[in-house]
Symmetry: C3
Subunit: 160 residues, 3 copies
Amino acid sequence: MEENKEKSTIVLFSGELDKAIAAFIIANGAAAYDHEVTIFFTFWGLNTLRKEGPVQVKKGVLERMFGWMMPRGASKLGLSRMNYAGMGPQMIKHVMKKHNVLTLPQLIELAREQGVRLVACTMTMDLLGLQKEELLDGIEYGGVAAYLGEAADGKVNLFI
Amino acid sequence: MEENKEKSTIVLFSGELDKAIAAFIIANGAAAYDHEVTIFFTFWGLNTLRKEGPVQVKKGVLERMFGWMMPRGASKLGLSRMNYAGMGPQMIKHVMKKHNVLTLPQLIELAREQGVRLVACTMTMDLLGLQKEELLDGIEYGGVAAYLGEAADGKVNLFI
Amino acid sequence: MEENKEKSTIVLFSGELDKAIAAFIIANGAAAYDHEVTIFFTFWGLNTLRKEGPVQVKKGVLERMFGWMMPRGASKLGLSRMNYAGMGPQMIKHVMKKHNVLTLPQLIELAREQGVRLVACTMTMDLLGLQKEELLDGIEYGGVAAYLGEAADGKVNLFI
């Protein structure tokens, strides 16, 4: 980490495919511009980081219900508009492939390769009953203090 | 007000419980970091500031309809996802209590104690037919000029 | 363009009337404050820029479907809440007129007169099958690099 690198942060609050794609395209762009980029995943945005398969963890009833109702990972997210019971995401994925746009899992992979920091919000993990074992390996964990520490020096700070 | 305090601003446009919680957690965090924080409430975000009980004010028919259809205050907001006719907010409130997270009314109270400025957008109050008597006592009122005056010096400016 | 002008940027991702109004009110306010303002239209936000009438262009089936399903221009957008099959937008437009608030098409016109740059995201135009002929004349086109070039120097950067 160099002293004079620009910082940029994104809070990914939303759990929709289209918003997650927008977040990762901006994050990857900023990383390519040599910004030090951090994405904070909170509330429904945490679903972007979920592993695809079921993970064996001990949970209370409410937490288990949240776990069932929320999408398991980047490939399962719906759209914020025109979701049409999952047909919309298929259409978007189809045109993304046609236009050689990276898929969301590929955008996440690229972000990690570029050193974008992925930080899961521990407070909302507690609220939604998500445990570390259920999220992608190798991410970071933090709270609002970690976020503000980065954002206070950030050039571009977005809430998505 | 000291000269060298960092400023941060949040536009709270959305009227959902989860987004309002996120806004106030960030605002309270920034205030704890000694930022001078202002939240501008516009459109549906204004509902966060409504008093709970009905307030006697003179209104036109349309304004009265908006008043009926919109939630009365921080305890009545729904979720942006998984609202399930109000069951979702109950689940979230239940897990928040279980994890000792402050409720939204408590987060608002804490914000006021920390000196976070709460500014209601007068133009959208007009549009939605909300009058000062219907909003919490002791808040401020302003328009886009007031917002930009703060945001132009802001370190962290978010639209939620 | 003067050297020392403040820059502000807005990413308009959302395709709803209320969010587009908020974006243009902030943009016009910032322009009145002599900021150099750029709005980047991506995903559903692109619908704000669509011409009202049908435009003859060659398209694939999926792109044609997206074109049918999405609103044609600023006068056709719905609300993010209380849309009620189009009744909500009529109510909002009615109270905007009553309170002498500019309509969205007028806000767009004012933005252009004030020199606000309107930039359509070419990547999402491809994804949604929107062609230049279908969008308002005289706008600009760009990608994430163009956005970051502005936002890195921006005082107020919002994602709406």
